[in-house]
């Protein structure tokens, strides 16, 4: 049973990208996609990329790593998620109309709004 739980925990984050790509790289790519840890491909929607490009000043396009990670950690309590990275937090704060911060803590209804607006350029990550 313990092995099963460990296996389940190890499988929680297999959808995460091996290597993230910057917004500039994604915009210049003809088929923007990232490889996931389980060998799959995760395509990034061009409309979302253009939406993000509109929110972020061009000089910062290299700083925004995609997909933006929405991290769930039990230590933050239930239904709270963290957005790390200055550019990522900036973009999310713009979308959710929140105060800018280096690291952003958002809650379930805000996660739902964010996911609705950016279904391919955001990913969940579960930190135990």
């Amino acid at each position: 049973m313990d092995r099963l739980i460990k296996l389940e925990l190890s499988r929680l984050n297999v959808h995460l990208p091996e290597k993230r790509m910057t917004l500039r790289e994604a915009l210049s790519s003809s088929k923007p996609e990232v490889m996931t840890r389980n060998g799959g491909k995760h395509a990034l929607n061009r409309e979302e990329l253009e939406f993000l490009a509109g929110l972020l000043p061009e000089k910062n396009w290299n700083e925004l790593q995609l997909p933006i990670l929405i991290a769930f950690e039990p230590k933050f309590g239930k239904s709270a998620a963290r957005i790390s990275g200055k550019a990522g937090a900036y973009v999310v704060s713009k979308i959710l109309d929140k105060e800018e911060a280096e690291e952003l803590l958002i809650y379930r209804p805000e996660v739902a709004i964010l996911r609705k607006k950016l279904p391919t350029t955001t990913q969940y990550v579960f930190i135990g």
Binding site: I5, E8, V14, H15, K31, Y124, F126, G128
Partner: protein, 212 residues
């Protein structure tokens, strides 16, 4: 009430069990987070599926109405024959996106609509209603392709949600209570053994003092 596991009541087992409970609790917390996120995704997709189904059905309804008009104007046999003359191979570009380990298909906007000349039937012998019918069906097909993508996503997310829910419930209602019950049993047993030892020692001491 959960029954305790059959295990020898030793301190080592107690330490092992405490470790197992903390692992199970961590697994439960993370899986619950995943389940909550999946529920959110599922309802979002479901809402989109409902909207897309309504739009596709409305478009199909309109297309069939125009088709009936076309049958009435051109005649059924002529319409069917003209339809047979058209050739179509729809190329779809399908990529994928991942939602918490679930591979969800993404179909790039299909180029379904084409002009009357590209459809292949004779423009000389057919009515303009056939063009309108074709156009309506092409638009309906576009909506149906989008609907298929959403429905496939909903199925995949629903399936994963069911699996995750079963695991969360198994941890919450079976494994964790069972482990906690066992920990309680071992703690009680160890306390009992300590009390027995204490009484035994006191008794031995009393016997020794009596002998002196």
């Amino acid at each position: 009430m959960a029954t305790a596991l059959t295990i020898s009541p030793t301190r080592m087992e107690l330490i092992k069990l405490k470790r197992r409970v903390s692992l199970a609790q961590r697994g439960h917390d993370l899986l619950r987070e995943k389940m909550d996120a999946l529920v959110m995704e599922f309802f979002d997709v479901l809402k989109k599926v409902q909207g897309s189904r309504t739009r596709a059905l409305e478009r199909l309804f309109r297309a069939y109405r125009v088709l009936s008009e076309c049958f009435a104007t051109m005649g059924t046999i002529e319409t069917v024959e003209s339809a047979r003359e058209t050739k179509r191979e729809l190329q779809l570009e399908i990529s994928s996106r991942h939602v918490m380990g679930i591979t969800v298909p993404v179909i790039e906007d299909p180029k379904v609509e084409r002009n009357a000349l590209a459809r292949g039937y004779s423009l000389y012998t057919t009515s303009s209603l056939l063009d309108e019918t074709s156009k309506e069906f092409e638009q309906a097909l576009k909506l149906l392709v989008k609907h298929a993508e959403l429905e496939a996503s909903a199925f995949a997310i629903g399936k994963e949600l069911e699996k995750t829910k079963r695991r969360v419930n198994a941890l919450e209602y079976i494994l964790i209570p069972k482990l906690q019950e066992t920990i309680k049993f071992i703690s009680m047993r160890l306390d009992e053994m300590e009390r027995e030892n204490f009484t035994r020692l006191k008794r031995i001491k009393a016997i020794l003092e009596e002998r002196r």
